[in-house]
Structure formats: C-alpha cells, structure tokens
C-alpha cells in the first residue's frame, strides 16, 4: 500500500470546488511564468501585461476595457449552453461549427433584405442565427438519439464541414456583389445599419450579444436550480441509472442540451458577424467554440462561474494581444497558457472529489 492514498468524498467539497479555479489560475501563472521565461520574456512583465495592463494601464486601458465584454460575450454565451450538456454527460464539442452556421444563416437572413431599413431585420437575424446553430446541433443530437452514434465525433466532424461551408459561401452565395470579386460578404456593420449589432452604450463594448450572454446566464441559473429539466440534467450526469429509474428520458435530454447549446452558439456567431467581425469571411471564426469548453470547466459548469470564467478568459485574450504588441510574444503562447489552465483545473479537481490520506489504511472497516 502506498503511503499517500485518495479517499473518495461522499459528496464533492463545495469549498474546494469553489477554490480550485482560483488555485488553478495561480498555478497557471507560475507555470506560464516559467514558459514566458523560457521564451526569453520577463515573466513578471508578461504576467503584468496580460492580467493587469489591459484593465488598468492609463494608455491601453481605455482601448482594452471595452474589448473585455466584446470577447467575453460569445465565450459566456457558448459556454453556458455547453455546460448544460457537460453536466448531463452529453459532450458537444462542435460549438465552433454551430457558431459558424449561426453566423452564416443569421447574416444570410439579413443580407436577403439588403438594403431595407426595417427595424424588424435585426430581430429576424437573431432568430435565424439561433436557428442555424440549433439545426447544426440537431444533426449529432438526432443521430445520437436515433442510432446511438457518438456525439463527440459527429459534432467535431461537423466543425470541419461548417468551415468548408463558410469558405464556400464567403466566395459564393454571400459574396459582396459590390466587392470587386474579393471573397467576403457585405460589411453589415458599415454598409447595412438595419442589420448591424451596434454598441448599446458607446465605448463600453456592450453590444446585444453581451446582453444575450447575461440573459442566458440568468436563465441557465434558474433552469438548473429551479426547473425540473435542470434537476433531470444533474441527475443524469451524477447518477445515470437513478435518472433512468426516475423516468428521465435520455433522448429528450440530448435533444434539449444539444439544441440549447447549438442555439446559443449560433446566437454568438450572429452577434459576432453583425458586430465586432462585421462580415462573413473565410477566417471569420477564431476558435471561440473551443475556448468556450475551457470556460465551461473553469466556471465549474455553473452559470455564475461561467460568467466570471468568461471574463477571465477574455482578459487573457486581450492581454495576449497586448503582449504580442508590446513584447512580440507569439499568439500561440497565450493558447498554450489557456490549455495549461484547463490542465491545472482538471488536476486540482482531485482535491474537491477526494480526500488525501497519508499513512497506511486501517484494516477493519
């Protein structure tokens, strides 16, 4: 018997569950500092530029602060949906594809009415965007419920399919007719006011996608803590057998969780394409769908946690851009940093779920 043992806790420690994300962030700063030093940067300067300067530097702060909400909005929106499924043991890892399809369908719905100025266009686009993401997520959902096909692989494969559709429409169906043959759609933000997702308050970064993210967090919180569906989701994740005995239909859960996640990812895509990105283009997607997976875990799959985790992850994006500008740090370093964060978080979960015992176990039990 080894000297150090793990003993399963009857229930995960709530204190440690809340504490581990913070510990993981600290551990990542240490490990990241070592990585930055290995790349030839001063670790303290790098950490300061990533975590402090975007918010508080008198020169960069005014530009960076609004970006915090711009980047956090889609991450929170997508992660909130993903977390529902993750809690039930349903692994939708293709949010990136749902995000792309939401953007394409939503932007397409708006562009069909160009150059109308009707105020109905934007709400119609929002619905279309949610529908695009939902429909894309329904593919793995239906294949899973009908045939038992693995949703992890199908949803992921559909990301590559969506990327190819994006490439196709940006140089074909949705290409700007006045764009002199260049790929990319009309710029919704610049050339089509009725279809643009504008900032609600100037210079805050607060656009309709951020509002949607806050609403999604509140609704998800209510769902998980007050609604029967939330109870079913938690039950299915923690005790699948008990859930079946309690009459929870796995098929309904799969359709609901994947559908909601898809719709939210689609919304995120629509708000991005009609706002910060401005147009459908071949490289319009930037990996929010994948980073949102880290956000969901960092937020403990809890809506409020995801809100905070989304803001933190947005900060690393902005800080990473600033470090690129100031230090010439490669963008990939930040991606690595985000990956490390997930590792530390998953590793530290052990303390929330198990007690560490030192010494040999007692014989009688």
């Amino acid at each position: 018997m080894s000297l150090i043992r793990l003993e399963k806790r009857p229930a995960p420690s709530r204190l440690l569950s809340g504490l581990t994300p913070i510990l993981a962030v600290i551990a990542t700063m240490f490990a990241g500092g070592i990585m930055f030093a290995a790349l030839g940067f001063s670790p303290f300067e790098a950490i300061r530029i990533i975590f402090w300067d975007p918010l508080f530097d008198p020169q960069f702060g005014p530009y960076s602060r609004p970006q915090l909400l711009v980047k956090a909005g889609p991450l929170i929106l997508i992660a909130t949906g993903l977390a529902l499924g993750f809690r039930a043991g349903i692994w939708n890892i293709g949010a990136e594809g749902q995000y792309i399809m939401g953007a394409i369908v939503g932007a397409g719905a708006g562009l069909a009415f160009y150059p109308s100025e009707s105020f109905l266009i934007f709400p119609f686009m929002v619905l279309a965007g949610a529908f695009g993401g939902w429909a894309w997520a329904m593919i793995p959902a239906i294949l899973k419920t009908r045939f038992g096909t693995n949703e992890i692989l199908v949803s992921l494969m559909l990301v590559y399919v969506a990327e190819n559709i994006l490439a196709s429409v940006s140089s074909g169906l949705l290409r700007n007719p006045d764009g002199m043959g260049f790929p990319g759609s009309r710029n919704l933000r610049r050339d089509f006011p009725a279809a643009s997702n504008t900032e609600i308050f100037a210079d805050t970064g607060m656009h309709w996608g951020v509002v949607a993210a806050f609403i999604a967090v509140i609704l998800a919180y209510v769902l998980m803590s007050r609604h029967k569906m939330g109870f079913s989701i938690r039950l299915a994740g923690e005790a699948p057998r008990a859930a079946r005995f309690a009459g929870v239909s796995p098929a309904r859960l799969i359709i609901f969780c994947l559908g909601t996640a898809g719709a939210l990812a689609g919304l995120a895509g629509l708000f991005e394409v009609s706002g910060p990105a401005g147009q459908i283009s071949i490289d319009f997607n930037t990996g929010y769908g994948f980073t949102a997976i880290i956000v969901a875990f960092l937020g403990r799959l809890h809506p409020v946690g995801i809100l905070l985790a989304g803001l933190l992850m947005a900060l690393t994006y902005i800080g990473g851009e600033l470090a690129q500008l100031m230090l010439g740090m490669p963008a990939a370093a930040i991606q690595l940093f985000q990956g490390m964060l997930l590792f530390f978080l998953l590793a530290m979960d052990v303390f929330a779920n198990y007690r560490v015992r030192i010494g040999t176990p007692e014989i009688a039990k």
């Binding site: 199908v154 490669p330 991606q335 997930l342 590792f343 979960d349 052990v350």
Partner: protein
C-alpha cells in the same frame, strides 16, 4: 477526368492512409486498456512539428520520426498523470490535450514555416517493384508505410496471443476485476497511453515529413479525430483499423485528385467529403450496434483498497 491514373491513385492512397493508420492503431491500444484519450489530434500535430524540426535540423527523417514518437509519448504523459493519478474526467482532459498540443505546435513551428523537409527515400524493392501494376502500388513506398503495416501485425499478435495482451484487455474490460486479480491497472494504462502517444506522434511526423512535406500550422486538419472515429469503425480490431484507414485514405486521395483534375464539384464540397463520410460510417456502425467497446472505456479507476 482522364488525368486520374488508378495505379498512382492506389499507390498514393497508401501514403495518405499511413498517418491515420498509425494514430488509430495507437489509440486502439489505449482504448483496449479502457482509456479514452481524445488528445490524438494534439499529439499528432505536436509529433508533426517536432518531427519536422528535428528532421530539418539533423537532415535525417529517421531522427525526426524517433523524436516525434518521444514527443507524442511525452505529451500523452500529461494526460496519463491527470487522468490516472489525479482521476480527472478523460473526455475533458483529452480535449485539453488537443487544445494544448495545437498551441504548443504553432509556438514551436513558427521558425519552420516555409522550410523544406529533408526527404525520405523510398525503398524501391528490386525485382518486386518492377512487377507491372502491383509494383508501383505495393513495392515503391517509403519504409514507414511498411512499418505501419508491421505495427498492425505486431499489435494484433500482442493483443491476441500474448500474456501482456491478455492483461491489457482484462484491464480495459473490467478494471475492478483486473485489480482484484493483482494486475497493476494504472501501470498498464500508463504504458498503453504512452504507446498511443508515440504512435500519434509518428503519424503526425509522417504528415509533415513525407505526406505534405513541410510544416503548416494546423496541418493535421482533424486527422486525429478521424483516427478516433476509425477505432470505433474498426470495432477495436487491428485488421479493421487497416481497412478503415485505407478507406479514408482512399476518399482523401480521390477528392484531392478530383480537385486537381478540375472537377465541376466545388472544392469546398470535395474538401468536406472525408468528414461527411466519417459521420456516415459512424452512423452505419452505430446502427449495427457498437460491438466490441471495452467494458471500462472512459471510466475512472479508483482502487478503494
């Protein structure tokens, strides 16, 4: 469309299939031990960049392959420690490994963009390679193609006829029973995970050293995920891995040839075809029922005594 030569098509199919074959075979062993590692894509791309970097710096593709295998195995140890010793969720950790590997590879690969691979000589087996039709198809490849076939044979033999293979399968089928019999579940799984990482690393290096051959960010483009799908397609059997990998290699080569031949089907639709076919095959397999999935696949093993 006349420009597609069936002999060259089949010959290049074997080259196109080799990376997926290597990675899928490695992952099959991991899954046979009861572990689901979704980090194949991350380990492959890391193998691709490390293999290429070493290949360029030493001028030897063999050195590139060797170090790529070590790099893949090394990366897989992160996954092994977190899932096996710290008992984390395998799906989440594997995904993390993929995201981490993608970041790591683009960081390492920056200085190597646009460089040329050192080249990897084909065997050109005397006499045999001169046989009409069969010669160019089967006997004019580089050594890794044959090594990958030998690896299938080796894994098949190991799993079916040796004690080590039996222990590995027992651990994957029912880890509690295996533990009760005195087998070291965690140790066996560590070794399986390392093997899977090394094979994914080799597969990735084959992409950057032979198949393409240069370093492009994100160049594995989902091959690691297709490898995962092939394991399911193969119902966890080595020879079916070969079938699956060559099927997908065939589709990839065919669509690339159609693109080059100026097919009327738009490029984007041809490019998405391997992924669509993967989905289709997964559906067909699941309709027939998922036979052969190891009993403890993806479950956390915690020895309470």
């Amino acid at each position: 469309m006349d420009s597609i030569n069936p002999i060259l098509l089949i010959a290049s199919l074997m080259v196109a299939s080799t990376p997926i074959l290597l990675a899928a075979l490695g992952e099959m062993v991991v899954e046979k031990a009861g572990v689901l590692n979704l980090g194949v894509e991350g380990m492959m791309i890391t193998g691709a960049v490390v293999g290429f970097a070493i290949g360029v710096n030493t001028g030897s593709s063999w050195a590139g392959f060797a170090i790529a295998a070590i790099a893949g195995a090394g990366l897989s140890m992160i996954f092994a420690i977190i899932t096996q010793m710290l008992l984390s969720n395998q799906v989440a950790t594997g995904l993390g490994l993929t995201l981490f590997g993608l970041g790591l590879s683009s960081l390492i690969g920056k200085p190597y963009v646009g460089m040329k691979a050192p080249g990897f000589a084909k065997l050109d087996i005397p006499v045999l390679s001169d046989i009409p039709v069969l010669g160019p198809i089967l006997f004019r490849h580089d050594p890794m193609v044959y090594l990958s076939l030998a690896a299938i044979l080796g894994v098949w033999y190991l799993l079916t006829y040796t004690r080590a293979g039996l222990v590995l399968r027992a651990v994957g089928e029912n880890h509690n029973a295996a533990h009760a019999l005195g087998y070291k579940v965690v140790r066996v799984r560590f070794m399986a995970i390392a093997f899977g990482g090394a094979m994914a690393g080799l597969g990735g290096a084959y992409v950057s050293l032979v198949r393409v051959p240069q370093w492009v960010e994100g160049m594995t483009a989902g091959a690691g995920w297709i490898a995962l799908a092939i394991v399911v397609f193969a119902s966890w059997r080595p020879w079916r891995i070969l079938l699956g990998a060559y099927l997908f290699g065939g589709i990839t080569v065919l669509q690339l040839n159609l693109q080059a031949a100026g097919s009327t089907v738009p490029v984007e639709y041809l490019s998405m075809s391997p992924y669509l076919v993967t989905i289709l095959v997964l559906v067909i397999i699941s309709v027939r029922g998922n036979h052969g999935a190891p009993g403890s696949l993806g479950r956390v093993f915690h020895a309470s005594h």
